[in-house]
């Protein structure tokens, strides 16, 4: 075997699999054993003890912090839409398999309908989710630095899959991504029970309102009032002489609100006020609930939504940077906050949960900083997403090769494989994939594996040959705090700052510069993307 170029640190890899499998524990162990067996990890400090210790740290914190937020993970911050909740509770962890992976149905409606479908399809990411989520991450993570796009243009990767998506889908992010944890099944079903109980008990006192059409108020007025009455508290508040009105926008909400920051004295108050103010929108997405339930559910649900991973409260500071609310003392926040935005968790990626490090001169690809895994951007362009689809992991396990040592076009093959099969109504399975391709070590001992077709027909071909890897690789870590520790010892680029979300969601961000350098030729036959 060739020496691994793309080594990953053991625990990071474990995290990856933990995160990505999100359903089956055996997946993790398989992956782990695969790693060990081959010893691609390349680092001496890779030990299971270590990894477990790491993963325990956040566990300890969960008493006062949101567990999901603190957990080590290498996925996009998962979000848990309510539909997903209920859906999820129906699926036992054992039942979740690749079947759920790409709930993609052949459709001419394009991505929009697809993403809606996938939202309700379970805890795994569908293709459409992938496209959206991926493009989001691309926009948000990478938009500040051109370094990624310098290396490859949108046409180079998978134009239909993500290249275009990054440009076009900024206003259509589904934003709902799967929960990314191994213990998710138990946890979410519990949550689900809680919320269901909550809504049940909550709806009981509203028995009076169960009479349809009484009191006889036009439904238009009813809807309007429900929306606006949420707003009472803070408009009614008595803004002091120095009222400080701040615009608040929310992803998916049709209009802005203004709040007077001076009327609040803590993050807590602000947060609950915003919850009330915007609950109608988040609840509106919850599903076809009756008016009463809608309102009643809002409290319990929204707390989940805002505090959980679905929505993240961010603010633009004096310098025009977007920061997470709560990271400075309240007074300082008041002094610097220019406006507020409630972002979809997926859009807020890069603000806290993830950091991306560009390798410095002395870095080695197979030695990423602790907690980080090393991936080639080509893998992203090729269709890899975080959290990693269980099918991908399963395929990687089948070949006993870590995902990040596959050549990008293998990822593309997997993505294309699953998309195509779903498109034609065939269930994509690991074995089927395995029966189509056999692995080859790439030439020149690069540590990269590619797949060749077992059958005479060429199914997929081409992957970028990249010599200037530092332009194209990045390290990714689940937690910023870890990075902060490293900050003193290493030169790193903190990508906390994000480009300000555009006011006009309809405007796609400018397309990244196209460099034909490593343009692979594969084109996915995915349904056409719809532009904004």
């Amino acid at each position: 075997m060739s020496p691994p170029l793309l080594g990953v640190e053991g625990k990071s890899q474990c995290n990856v699999s933990l995160v990505a499998s999100s359903a089956s524990a055996d997946c993790v162990s398989q992956n782990g054993s695969g790693l060990k067996e081959r010893n691609y990890l390349g680092l001496s400090d890779c030990s299971s003890v270590d990894s477990s210790a790491v993963s325990k740290v956040p566990e300890g914190n969960k008493s006062n912090l949101n567990l999901r937020a603190t957990e080590l993970r290498l996925g996009l911050p998962g979000s848990q839409s309510p539909e997903r909740d209920s859906d999820f509770s129906l699926l036992s962890s054992a039942k979740i398999d690749e079947k759920q992976l790409f709930p993609l149905i052949p459709s001419k409606d394009g991505i929009c309908s697809l993403s809606q479908k996938t939202v309700v399809s379970g805890n795994k990411r569908g293709f459409a989710d992938t496209v959206d989520g991926f493009s989001d991450s691309k926009n948000t993570i990478f938009s500040e630095g051109n370094w990624m796009f310098n290396a490859a243009g949108p046409d180079s990767g998978q134009p239909k899959l993500a290249g275009n998506a990054g440009v076009m889908l900024s206003n259509k992010s589904s934003g709902t991504q799967p929960p990314i944890k191994t213990e998710v099944p138990a946890k979410t079903s519990k949550e689900c029970n809680n919320t269901m109980n909550g809504s049940n008990t909550n709806s009981a006192p509203a028995a009076k309102a169960q009479v349809v059409g009484w009191p006889p108020i036009r439904s238009f007025r009813k809807n309007t009032l429900v929306t606006t009455s949420k707003n009472n508290d803070e408009v009614d508040g008595k803004p002091g002489p120095g009222a400080l009105f701040i615009k608040v926008s929310m992803d998916g909400a049709p209009y802005l609100r203004k709040v007077d920051l001076r009327t609040y004295s803590s993050y807590q108050e602000l947060s609950s006020a915003l919850e009330k103010m915007f609950s109608c929108f988040t609840i509106g997405q919850c599903g076809p609930q009756g008016g009463t339930n809608k309102e009643m559910m809002s409290d319990s649900k929204l707390r989940d939504l805002l505090h959980g991973s679905e929505y993240v409260l961010t603010y633009e500071d004096k310098d025009g940077d977007w920061m997470l609310v709560g990271d400075v003392p309240w007074e300082m926040f008041i002094g610097s906050c220019k406006r507020l935005k409630i972002m979809k968790g997926s859009d807020a990626i890069g603000l806290d949960d993830y950091s991306i490090i560009i390798p410095s001169l002395e870095d080695l690809a197979h030695r990423p900083p602790p907690q980080h895994a090393c991936f080639h951007v080509a893998l992203l362009r090729a269709g890899l997403w975080f959290s990693i689809a269980p099918l991908f992991i399963s395929i990687a396990n089948r070949y006993s090769i870590p995902l990040n040592q596959f050549a990008p076009n293998v990822i593309r093959m997997m993505a294309r494989f699953s998309v195509l099969l779903h498109f034609y109504g065939i269930e994509p399975t690991t074995e089927f994939f395995y029966s189509l391709f056999h692995p080859c070590s790439s030439v020149a001992d690069s540590g990269v594996f590619y797949l060749t077709s077992r059958c005479p027909a060429i199914i997929l071909a081409g992957h970028p040959g990249d010599k200037r890897w530092k332009d194209n690789f990045f390290y990714i870590a689940p937690q910023l705090e870890r990075l902060m520790e490293l900050a003193h010892s290493r030169e790193f680029v903190n990508r906390r700052k994000q480009c300000p979300p555009s006011e006009e969601p309809a405007l796609p961000p400018p397309p990244p510069p196209v460099t034909p350098q490593d343009a692979p030729s594969t084109v996915l036959t995915s349904p056409p993307l719809r532009s904004g």
Binding site: K208, V212, P216, L225, A243, T292
Partner: protein, 637 residues
């Protein structure tokens, strides 16, 4: 008399027509058309405004045949209870066939007013391209369309404006265009307009017939409480730069963002704009700029009314408001900071109409301060956050009040902010001109109603809704029969009545006995036996619309006088005791009635038992038989 009639018959038709022009009410014109053949004919050709209270009572073909010169049409669709979600969404009430028929017949439609109808974008597009003189579109509680449809309406003005400018620049060119549509397409570089143009033969004929009707003067676009699917389209910017004819623009019901800059420009160039109601996406600072351009407004609907009262904009707003001397009607405040209210004090003194019923953020004290300035108010719509105390203030200030609506702010009665009988009594004592009331309250007493009846005998519309539908007299725990009895007894002109609270058959006895002018009656959770409904049917000779829900009226009442229903527009009964068999019998006896059963959720199988209870029944008289667009769950018997 006989002599008079024969003399009238000698009048030339032109004279008759001129005389008829002075008859504005539909009822008078209907009466005139029944006098004789020639009057019928004159009236028929001179009627320009038609009101159709039920779009299924007649079809568009009959309408056009009878009134070929119609210019203004008012149509109503779904039953009134559709407002309260009692009618399933796909029930019907589509306007498209009407627009289509009128377009085909070459009707020169100028005004269309729709209520509770389904208006698709296609309808709006067809409307936009079919009627060159169209001026006014009013949609109330309609649904089914999006901002795309509105954009079609707005951009119709663009088309005409292009034609207009061409017409002025180059008359020869326009003449050439008459015969060659393609030429037009070649010269006008606005592809969209040409696309609308080319397939439309009516537009071509329009060129040749009248030079004055080349372009639209849209005067009124009024959207009231419609459920509009907002596509975030820039529909406002579709109004062309040359569109200067707008008199009324109301889009308060739209939920999405609007292009504020486009709105500012639009208002700035429409100097005749009298009525402007914006939605809550228009912030106050933008409104301030708009108002600075349009001091001539009579009717203003603000959007969001939130501003920092220490800011520069605030001062500007106050100055601008002082210049808006002609504002008589104020509404909106969809999102309000009560501290901003003093800005409107300067215009309050002249206000005749104030609608704060969408402003839940203002409470009693601020409302009272505001009301103190509104001495000329005639129409007040408000939320019950005003409290009884606030109503007392209204009673002592607003001596001209004619119409009062108090809406609940807390739909489920959990909160405490609500008004009671005290407020109503105070109003009745202080506002002698009150003739129209809609009052949502927590509790009511007979004594209060009797006092109200004594104080205000002029009620035309009296609608009282207790939030708990069957609550008795708050003091005596008796039914509210006597109170409502007093109302119908003393208000001789009462046309519309809604009753609620605990009620027995007794109240219907009173209603049947005294409410001679009653045209519309809403009954909910009331009555004991069939007698109650019989009292009403036998008594109220002018009844047009009767709607009953959750009341124990059954077959006996329904079938007692089937001929009565032909004198009425419609009867709605839901959750009553009527059976399938009785509905069938009724339908057989009265072929000119459509008896529709709304069979939601497959309560009834293929051929149900005659004794099966009908959950929702809607019957109406019609000239055209069963409707063809009924969905599966609507059975016309």
């Amino acid at each position: 008399m006989c002599l008079f009639q024969s003399m009238m018959n000698y009048f030339p038709e032109e004279v008759l027509e001129h005389v008829f022009d002075f008859l504005t009410s539909h009822r008078d014109r209907n009466a005139v058309s029944l006098v004789c053949q020639s009057w019928y004919s004159v009236e028929r050709f001179s009627r320009e405004k038609v009101f159709i209270g039920n779009c299924y009572a007649v079809n568009p073909e009959r309408l056009i045949a009878r009134f070929p010169r119609i210019r203004s049409l008012t149509l109503k669709g779904k039953p009134h209870f559709a407002d309260f979600n009692l009618v399933p969404p796909d029930w019907g009430g589509y306007v498209y066939p009407w627009i289509e028929a009128m377009a085909k017949a070459g009707i020169n439609l100028e005004e269309l007013r729709l209520k509770r109808m389904v208006v698709s974008d296609d309808s709006l597009e067809l409307l936009a391209k079919s009627f060159p003189n169209f001026k006014s579109l009013v949609l109330v509680s309609c649904e089914g369309f999006t901002t795309d449809g509105l954009a079609a309406i707005a951009s119709k003005c663009r088309l005409s404006s292009i034609l207009l400018s061409y017409a002025f620049e180059n008359r020869c060119f326009v003449a050439a265009v008459l015969n060659d549509c393609a030429l037009l397409g070649f010269h006008i570089d606005d592809a969209e307009s040409v696309a609308i143009m080319s397939p439309s033969s009516s537009l071509l004929s329009l060129f040749s017939t009248s030079k004055a009707t080349w372009f639209w003067f849209l005067k009124e676009l009024d959207l009231q409480e419609n459920e509009v699917d907002d596509r975030k389209g820039q529909w406002l910017s579709c109004f062309p730069d040359s569109c200067t004819s707008l008199v009324s623009l109301n889009f308060a019901c739209l939920k999405g963002e609007v292009n504020v800059a486009a709105l500012e420009r639009l208002v700035a160039r429409n100097r005749n704009l009298r009525s402007l109601r914006v939605n809550h996406a228009v912030p106050l600072d933008a409104l301030q700029k708009i108002l600075a351009q349009a001091p001539q407004l009579n009717d203003l609907g603000t959007g969001s009314f939130v501003l920092d009262p220490d800011s520069e904009t605030w001062n500007k707003l106050k100055n601008v408001m002082q210049k808006c001397k002609s504002v008589r009607s104020l509404s909106g405040f969809l999102d309000v900071n009560p501290r901003c209210l003093p800005a409107i004090y300067p215009i309050c003194t002249d206000l005749t109409s104030l609608n704060l019923s969408y402003a839940p953020g203002i409470y009693s004290n601020e409302l009272i301060k505001l009301i103190r300035h509104c001495q000329k108010i005639e129409r007040l719509w408000i939320l019950d956050t005003i409290g009884d105390k606030g109503l007392v203030a209204v009673a002592s200030t607003c001596k001209e009040l004619q119409e009062l609506r108090v809406f609940p702010s807390d739909l489920y009665g959990v909160g405490n902010a609500a008004v009671t009988e005290e407020g109503l009594v105070a109003i009745s004592a202080g506002c002698p001109k009150l003739n129209s009331l809609l009052y949502f309250c927590q509790q009511m007493t007979n004594a209060a109603l009797i006092t109200v009846a004594k104080n205000c005998p002029n009620f035309i519309r009296f609608r009282l809704c207790t939030l708990n539908p069957t609550v008795p007299d708050a003091v005596t725990n008796l039914p509210l029969d006597e109170g409502f009895g007093a109302i119908v007894q003393s208000c001789k002109g009462l046309k519309r009545l809604s009753v609620s609270g605990l009620l027995t058959d007794q109240v219907f006895l009173y209603i049947g006995m005294y409410a001679e002018q009653l045209e519309m009656l809403s009954i909910a959770f009331a009555g004991d036996t069939d007698k109650g409904m019989l009292y009403v049917l036998n008594g109220c000779k002018k009844m047009k619309k009767l709607e009953i829900r959750d009341s124990p009226f059954g077959n006996v009442a329904l079938l007692a006088d089937v001929g009565k229903y032909e004198t009425m527009r419609s009867l709605w009964m839901s959750s009553c005791e009527v059976t399938y068999g009785a509905c069938k019998t009724l339908a057989e006896k009265m072929p000119r009635l459509n008896v529709e059963i709304i069979n939601e959720g497959e309560q009834m199988e293929g051929s149900p038992d005659d004794r099966q209870r009908v959950e929702k029944m809607y019957l109406y008289r019609t000239l055209v038989g069963p409707r063809s667009d009924a969905p599966d769950f609507v059975w016309t018997l």
